[in-house]
Symmetry: C2
Subunit: 236 residues, 2 copies
DNA sequence: TTGCAATGGATCGTATACAATTTAACCGGA
DNA sequence: TCCGGTTAAATTGTATACGATCCATTGCAA
């Protein structure tokens, strides 16, 4: 009963070992239990999941294709540490893709879908008011799931996968560069978007979506922190 | 001297073995030397490249993440055989993404870029008039490279990767469902798009791009061929 | 002839073993 | 004390080994 994660993970076990591990690690990254830059050594991962390095390695490779882990040759795998430039590109991609996706979703949306979206929103709001790490994590997840669900509704599996990647990487960026503690500042905007879709104001919905993304991005501090680990760090 | 592949493979060897193999196979798929559905057994791939199954397997896994090969549990890897529905989604994704990408590219394009694009176009046209398989393959590649180059110009590495995937998968779809032997029917359209960009007619460029994609898609026969392996196959 | 169970071969899934590379520790000399 | 180089430990890259699964053939019985 920990979270939806556990149930999801048990699932049907149709996935080959490496995929389970990949999913587990991805979830940990997206929920920010693993910080950017953390080393993920193959042996450690293997031991942690009681499998051989072979599977651990496969899982890490998979995550590297999603941009969540960066593997450096002969050095190992690390939780991705997106540069400011990368961060900009991620959000640029989202601005590019999400309005179009929203239009496609709106064209196919059913009342049931709207109900599901609203329910997700409610859950999101409920978690916002709670305290504790687990609630915070679930909230992060729910906030991303909103965007993901739109992709699902659009009915395009390829775009869905792409959005999954973008949302996951966004989480990393926010973990790194987010300023406001309340990561969910844009919660109410989700609701407005649904309303706009429901009343068939498509252009307005897109507009809201763009604003929403801009809003998230505005909360970031993307200045080059060139580690400044040298003298600057101690100069007043 | 066999083909560009060999030279590319030698390269700088900065890539780990599996990546070289992945690239080689991908190229073979995109250039349609490997047909959809072809079995790619790990041992065969390994022997072919004189590496162990480990690396062959890694390469095939990588390709499966790009959607170019499908690995079926306990059955092996096959060159992807996109369903008509998948094909539609691929082109839907391109229609969704490419206009926006074009706008971003137009905002950053330099005279040098335009020169490169035109050069690519020339090469494409030159190959069109030639005979022979190798020319045909190079032409296929060049035609895709046009779209790819726009993504490069846009400066967004993430979108670039995504477009690489889409273009590669498009090649598979065309191989499967394309009708006209002249796969490059839309060659002239590339030129028009460049001209529109050059003269800053952005809306028109996007329009042309959409038409271009629709044009490619119109050449496909996406009717469900439900194998019709039954009686229909033998009825006159 | 048709259907089904048993058997053998091929292929995949995973673990382990060894070689190559990096990283950290150590140590003598300036 | 500080520095460069040498060595040892740790980690990754790749190959091999073995158990498990699937597929095709075979043989037997209905």
């Amino acid at each position: 009963m920990k979270s939806a994660a556990t149930a999801q993970q048990a699932e049907e076990s149709a996935e080959t070992g490496a995929q389970q591990i990949r999913d587990a690690i991805r979830e940990a990254i997206v929920e920010r239990r693993l910080s950017p830059g953390t080393k993920l050594s193959e042996s450690d991962v293997g031991n942690l999941f009681n499998v051989s390095r072979t599977l651990a390695r496969a899982a890490l490779q998979a995550l590297s294709y999603e941009g969540l882990v960066s593997v450096e040759k002969n050095r190992g795998a690390f939780v991705a540490y997106p540069s400011p430039e990368e961060a900009r590109q991620i959000f640029s991609a989202r601005r590019l893709v999400e309005p179009g996706l929203l239009r496609e979703a709106a064209a196919r949306i059913t009342p049931d879908d709207i109900r599901d979206l609203r329910e997700l929103l409610l859950e999101e709001g409920r978690l916002m008011s709670e305290r504790g790490q687990t609630a915070r994590r679930a909230e992060i997840k729910a906030s991303g799931d909103f965007h993901l669900m739109l992709a699902v509704i659009s009915g395009n599996a390829i775009m869905q996968r792409f959005m999954e990647e973008l949302v996951a990487r966004s989480s990393l960026v926010i973990a790194l560069y987010g300023q406001s503690t309340a990561s969910s500042c844009g919660h109410s905007e989700h609701g407005e978007i649904i309303s706009a879709i429901e009343s068939n104001e498509l252009d307005r919905a897109c507009e809201l979506m763009l604003h929403h993304i801009a809003h998230i991005e505005a909360d970031l501090d993307l200045r080059e922190r060139k580690s400044l680990g040298l003298k600057e760090a101690f100069e007043l």
